[in-house]
Structures are given as structure tokens and as C-alpha cells.
């Protein structure tokens, strides 16, 4: 692999700074919980389904509890109590509570011991299912083997899950290794997870547990046929980060988009809510063996890719640090970056090579996620196809982990089946003819590429130092990321955040933290 000489002690300094910044946020996280975090506990306890008005039972129960003012102690003890009372399974218990046929929200009259017992039992069940999905995936990857990197990642976004399956299979036939089902525009702002299979969506398909299942089955079929394991991706960003992580784990998803700041910056979701939910969602991902993908690439769509390259690197370091706090291991960190430099810039390719090589060397054991050009894509599909072709070259040359397919119609519409086919045609072509280019070339020392990488590192160090002083939250408030300002108490979802009281109990989280990193 081509290589840029970097000062390892500087890299250590950067990682330490990031860790400090992450830990500051961790304080806020540990003091709070959120409605969606509590709903996640219920889902992991086995509560599923919706009521007559299509409201998920998990939402109904948590709402009832907060109306009763009893949410501060967490949903877990209350639900355990209800189960003791009903003597039935979780789902039935939830249904009777929802129908008002069972008391909920008052622990008086229950023996705390029994409750804790029941909670333990429920939590055990939850963890068992998380371990199970992790093992099922490992087993599949054995059977069908994983393709070599860069992994070819494409999105499907018809709005109709069944149409998505056709498109996904077509893409796999053309070489795709990873399929992402993009969500309908509005979903990330919904404070619940929609239910059941869906066939209507806008610029994407709703993320529902049923849709996860349908697509995963389609991919298992094609993995079998193609003899390579095709991963399934969905998006957990938004108001339901942890809940979607729970649903994803129950359906053997492989990857979730899960960024510490994306929801804040690009969906105007409250930052506390985001950090809190994100932590629990990542704990679940780590246990379920779900890889996370982060969204640094998005910064470059609203701020300049050269000027703000250091914000991408800084964010990668912060995402890594927060992820490690949530027990995620490096092999599960698909840290994001992108090929977004204005093609009018002379020698733009040298900058791209430098940035891509830097990311590669900073996170050697992570399957870093490389995003294609989008912002400067032209509506001239032929010209756009050239941009993607050069992106493909940089990716294989610098040995990226996950390669998002650039699409020639990026500036026009969400990809049609033939757009994806053409995109993969370029990827397969370039990856094959340039497979070993990275091993063939050296970047001149003190050349432009090396100097540029050093400059980005220095700017990053400077920036992280400031962050440590003013705190991450303040930095976001000041618009230091993506040129977007978000107030600490602004955005949606803050009303769903609450301070845990002394009696608060969430045995799933406790157990996950206690067990720590699982390595088999």
C-alpha cells in the first residue's frame, strides 16, 4: 500500500484528545434517558406490534408511564411488575396494558426483589437474542465468505420494499457486496418506528422491522446463489436510534448508519437526545455485531471539502472515541469521509488522494467508509460517470474499506436499476485494472500529498484542543461542524429526554456495560 509518513506520537495525542471530548459528553449521557431509549428496552423485552391507531405498543406504554409521571425510574421495573401481575408473556402483557385492562406505573404492592428478579430474567432474554444474531451472522459469513475490500455498497430507495428487493438482487448480480435501504425523507423525525411491510415512501423506504426481515431474506437467497455474503444496511439516525438498533439486531442486519452528530446537524434533532440515544444504540450494535457507519461525508455537502477537511478527521476521531465508550471494536467502525472537492480545483485529485490516504492510515483496523462525489455532480450523466470513475480509482488505490457506489444520476434522481448497473460497471472495471496500483506507487516525501496530509492533521489537533476547552456541545452550537449552528436546547426530541431518578433501572444497559467487549 502507498504510504504517507505520519508522526505516531501526534496520532496518539489526537486520539487522547478525542477520548477526553467523548468523556465529557458521556457525563450528560449517563445522567439522562429518553422515551425512545425506554421503548428500546421494551422492544428488547419482547414488546412488538401496534394498537388500533397504528401506534406501536412500545410508544403507548412509555406514554402512559410518563403521563403517570413514573418514567424517571425507567420502564423496566414497571413492565416487570406488570408481567408479574399478568403472569403472561411480554407481548400479551403489553397488549392488556395498552387496552387499559392492567395497572401500569405504580410499583406499590410489589416486592422489589421479585421485580428485580423479573427484570434480570427479561434482560437475560434480551442479551441472549443479541448474542444469537451476532452468532448467526458470523455463521453466515463463514458459509458464504466475505468479498475483499473495498466492499461495493449501493443504495436502494424505491419506497416499496418489494421493488427494493428486485433492485437489490440486480445490484448484487452486478457485483454489489452491501445493500443499503435508504429511508423515506420524513422518518428520522418520527418519534416512533413504523410497523409492518411498506410499499409507499418518499425518496426512500420506511425502516420497519418487517421490511428489515423481507430484505434480509432476499439477500440470504442471493448470497446463497452468488456464494458471497451480502450485507444489509439501514439507518438508525433520528429520534429512534436505539429502537431501530434493537429492531435491526432482531432481524440480523449487518450495518447501521449511526453517527454521533448527524441527526443534530442535518435533521435538527436535539443534541442531548441524540447523544443519549446514540450511546445505547451503539451498545446494542456492539453486542449484536452490527457495524456502524458514521456520516462525516455529509459535512462536505454544506461546507468546503478542502477548507473543512479537518472537521471530517476530527469527527472521525470523536466518533471512534464515543464508539469505544459504547464498547464497539475497531472492526465495527465504518468511519465516514468523502470525495467532494470541486472538480474545478486544479489537482483536486491530489487532495483527494491525500485525504483518503490519511483516513486509511489513521484507522488502520477499521473498514472506513468512502463516499462518492455528490455535491459537484452534474446533471450531465456522462460527465458525472467520469467523476465516479476517478473516485473509484482513489478508493482502490488507497485501500478503502467500504466503497459507496457513486451514481451517474446523483444530481437528478434516486438511482434507477440501470444507474446502479452502470455505476458497478465502472467500479468493477477500475478495481480490476488498478487492483495493485497502491502497491506500485510511492508518494514523494515532502510532495504535495504528504504535505497536505500533515496540514490536515495539524489543523485537526488545533481544532480538537479548542473542542476540549469549549466542549463538543458548545462547538456544535457555534456551528463549527458543517457550518450549521444547533442550540443545546434546540431541535426536536428534547421533550423526550428526562433525568434518571435514583431508583432508575435499565438492566439491559447495565448488563451490556458490565459484560464489556465480547471477544470470542
Amino acid at each position: 500500500m502507498a504510504h504517507i509518513p505520519l508522526d505516531s506520537s501526534q496520532i496518539d495525542r489526537l486520539k487522547d484528545l478525542a477520548k477526553e471530548i467523548a468523556d465529557q459528553v458521556q457525563d450528560v449521557i449517563s445522567r439522562h434517558s429518553s422515551v425512545s431509549l425506554e421503548r428500546t428496552v421494551l422492544r428488547l423485552y419482547g414488546v412488538d406490534g401496534v394498537n388500533g391507531e397504528d401506534i406501536p405498543l412500545a410508544n403507548r406504554l412509555v406514554d402512559i408511564l410518563s403521563e403517570k409521571g413514573s418514567l424517571q425510574s425507567g420502564v423496566s421495573p414497571h413492565f416487570a411488575a406488570a408481567m408479574l401481575a399478568s403472569g403472561t408473556d411480554a407481548q400479551t402483557t403489553a397488549e392488556v396494558i395498552e387496552q387499559g385492562k392492567a395497572a401500569f406505573g405504580d410499583l406499590t404492592g410489589f416486592d422489589l426483589e421479585d421485580i428485580r428478579e423479573k427484570e434480570k430474567e427479561l434482560a437475560q432474554g434480551a442479551l441472549t437474542s443479541l448474542d444469537a444474531t451476532r452468532r448467526r451472522k458470523e455463521e453466515k459469513q463463514q458459509r458464504w465468505s466475505l468479498p475483499r475490500q473495498p466492499w461495493r455498497y449501493v443504495i436502494v430507495a424505491t419506497g416499496n420494499i418489494y421493488e427494493d428487493c428486485i433492485q437489490a438482487k440486480s445490484a448484487v448480480l452486478a457485483g454489489a457486496d452491501i445493500i443499503a435501504v435508504i429511508r423515506s425523507t420524513a422518518q428520522s423525525l418520527l418519534d416512533y418506528v413504523p410497523y409492518g411491510p411498506t410499499t409507499e415512501g418518499f425518496a426512500g423506504t420506511f425502516a420497519t422491522q418487517a421490511n428489515f426481515k423481507i430484505m434480509r431474506e432476499a439477500l440470504d437467497e442471493i448470497s446463497e446463489q452468488q456464494g458471497r455474503y451480502v450485507r444489509l444496511v439501514n439507518y438508525s439516525s433520528g429520534l429512534c436510534m436505539a429502537e431501530i438498533a434493537a429492531c435491526a439486531s432482531l432481524e440480523d442486519l449487518d450495518v447501521l448508519l449511526n453517527d454521533s452528530m448527524y441527526g443534530i446537524l442535518f435533521r435538527d434533532i436535539n443534541m442531548k437526545r441524540t447523544f443519549i440515544d446514540q450511546y445505547f444504540s451503539r451498545l446494542i450494535c456492539s453486542r449484536a455485531g452490527i457495524m456502524i457507519n458514521t456520516g462525516e461525508d455529509n459535512y462536505l455537502t454544506t461546507s468546503d471539502a478542502i477548507e473543512n477537511a479537518y472537521t471530517v478527521t476530527a469527527s472521525q476521531l470523536i466518533n471512534e472515541a464515543t464508539a469505544k465508550n459504547a464498547l464497539l471494536t475497531e472492526d465495527l467502525l465504518g468511519l465516514g469521509h468523502a470525495f467532494e472537492i470541486d472538480p474545478e480545483v486544479e489537482n483536486a485529485l491530489l487532495y483527494e488522494l491525500s485525504h483518503a490516504q490519511l483516513a486509511r492510515q489513521l484507522f488502520p483496523d477499521s473498514p472506513i467508509k468512502y463516499m462518492p462525489p455528490t455535491k459537484y455532480k452534474s446533471t450531465d450523466v456522462f460527465y458525472s460517470h467520469c467523476m465516479d470513475t476517478m473516485f473509484n480509482l482513489v478508493s482502490v488505490t488507497t485501500g478503502q474499506g467500504i466503497h459507496l457506489a457513486g451514481i451517474l444520476t446523483e444530481a437528478i434522481h434516486t438511482p434507477f436499476m440501470q444507474d446502479r448497473y452502470q455505476s458497478l460497471g465502472s467500479i468493477n472495471y477500475v478495481f480490476n485494472i488498478a487492483r495493485a496500483l497502491g502497491n506500485e506507487i510511492e508518494f514523494k516525501k515532502d510532495g504535495f500529498v504528504a504535505k497536505r496530509a500533515q496540514q490536515v492533521l495539524d489543523e485537526t489537533e488545533q481544532f480538537l484542543k479548542e473542542l476540549r476547552e469549549i466542549s463538543l456541545m458548545e462547538a456544535i452550537a457555534q456551528g463549527r461542524f458543517a457550518n450549521i449552528r444547533r442550540a443545546v436546547d434546540g431541535g426536536s426530541g428534547l421533550d423526550g429526554v428526562f433525568v434518571k431518578d435514583s431508583g432508575y433501572s435499565n438492566p439491559v444497559m447495565e448488563q451490556l456495560e458490565q459484560d464489556g467487549v465480547i471477544d470470542e
Partner: protein, 254 residues
């Protein structure tokens, strides 16, 4: 204007050459190629040459085709409305407001619905502006309120009334399933309902927007890719002054 019949041009006048690519829900093979050929001939084309056919999914084949399109159209009869206003620069515009309007203009902008794209509206409104052209926020004579994205029609209207806006800038980037149409129209209807139909200058914009299209939607103008803030500001000032003139002469008559 005298008749001017035109057809596509490949390498000689009126050869009618066009390139197509599309996918048909059939298995690849000679019959599939034939189907592609027949299909394109149904699109008023002749000399259809299916140069490429390739299976891209079970029961789907992708084609690349070159053909000669038969129709000619009379270009002299083709009409397209363009935003008509004399283009002024930053200084001229501020000067004109000071001189003629003698008060500051008030402009509210937002990306409505679930659309989260702000780069377009920001390009017009934010200080920085677009491709070297200052954004409206930088105009001393204009008060701008940029509400960002994911703004409901209701919230937008409230803001408009609160700051007594002269002009409203509505942006839509997501066009999938004609989402933008529905959102653009929803806002117009809301104004109608509230009897505010023609009170504000209503501007629409986005990557798929044309002036013709905006007029159909009931907006006063539409702006597409490449628009710079000064074009928008010029239009606003121009129209506001024009409306005032009309109003005044109407008064005089009364």
C-alpha cells in the same frame, strides 16, 4: 417569425439522431433485442439500432440504443417564459430600495415539508451567497429571515405574518414522487384559505424549477439551478415597486 423546423443533430442537419438507454422486464436474448427495437420504433423513431443489450436482473435487460427520431417541430412557435427583470447588482439594488421604496424590504425563506435540503435556499439568503454573489442577508436594505429546512407551511406563514414579509422564498429539492409539487401547492392553498392569495410576492426555487412551472403552481416566479442572489433581489425589488405603482395609480383613480 418565420417557420423553423428542427430535428436532432448527430453529424448532419436533421439526421434526427438520438441516444437512448432503458431497461425492459424481459430476459436477454434475440427476442429481447427485437422488443427493444420495436419499442423504440413506437417512439416515432426509425433506423433503430439496438447496439447493446445485457441482462441486469432476472427477467430484466438493459439496452443502449441509437435511432433517428422522425418528428420535426417548429422552433419559431416554441415559447418559454423567463423571469423578466433588469438584472441589477448589490449596490444598485440597495440604492434603489433606499431611493424609491424608502423602507427596508422584508424577506422570509424556507425549505418546506420533510425536505431537509438547505444548501439551495442558503445559497440565496446566507451572507456568503453563491458563486461570488452576496446573499440577501448581506443587503443592508433587506431584512432576511431564513428558517432553514423541514419547515411546515403553517410555521412559515406565521413567520411571514410576524415580520410582515414582502416576499416569501420557498425551496424544494426532493422531487421524488412529485413531493415538491404537493408541498409548493399546499403553501399556496394555505395562503388562499387565509385570503392572502396575492398579498405577498411568492418565489419558488429548486433544482427542477423553471419559471413556467412556478407560474403554473401559482407562484410569481421560479428559479432553477445556477440562480444567484442578485437575480432574486432584482426581481423582488422590481416587482414590489411595480405593485406599488399600480396600487398608487389605482388610488388616484378612486
Amino acid at each position: 417569425m418565420s417557420e423553423q423546423m428542427i430535428r436532432p443533430y448527430g453529424d448532419s442537419m436533421n439526421d434526427g439522431i438520438i441516444q437512448l438507454s432503458f431497461t425492459l422486464p424481459v430476459e436477454d436474448g434475440e427476442r429481447a433485442k427485437k422488443a427493444a427495437e420495436l419499442y423504440v420504433s413506437q417512439l416515432n423513431c426509425e433506423n433503430v439500432s439496438v447496439v447493446h443489450a445485457r441482462k441486469i436482473a432476472d427477467r430484466f435487460t438493459y439496452f443502449v440504443v441509437y435511432a433517428r427520431a422522425k418528428p420535426s417541430i417548429d422552433y419559431s412557435k416554441v415559447q418559454a417564459s423567463e423571469v423578466r427583470t433588469k438584472q441589477m447588482d448589490f449596490y444598485e439594488i440597495n440604492e434603489l430600495i433606499r431611493a424609491k421604496l424608502q423602507r427596508r424590504l422584508s424577506v422570509v425563506g424556507a425549505t418546506i415539508g420533510s425536505d431537509a435540503h438547505t444548501v439551495g435556499i442558503d445559497a440565496i439568503m446566507s451572507m456568503k451567497g453563491y458563486s461570488g454573489d452576496y446573499g440577501l442577508e448581506r443587503y443592508p436594505e433587506i431584512n432576511t429571515y431564513n428558517m432553514g429546512a423541514q419547515v411546515s407551511c403553517k410555521a412559515l406563514l406565521e413567520k411571514v405574518l410576524e415580520v410582515q414579509a414582502d416576499a416569501i422564498l420557498v425551496s424544494q429539492t426532493v422531487t421524488q414522487k412529485d413531493m415538491h409539487l404537493r408541498n409548493f401547492s399546499e403553501f399556496v392553498q394555505l395562503l388562499e384559505e387565509k385570503g392572502l392569495g396575492s398579498r405577498f410576492l411568492l418565489l419558488a426555487g429548486g433544482p427542477r424549477m423553471t419559471n413556467d412551472f412556478a407560474l403554473q403552481l401559482g407562484y410569481d416566479a421560479g428559479f432553477g439551478p445556477g440562480t444567484v442572489p442578485s437575480q432574486v433581489a432584482s426581481f423582488i425589488v422590481d416587482k414590489i415597486l411595480e405593485r406599488r405603482r399600480k396600487a398608487q395609480s389605482a388610488e388616484r383613480k378612486a
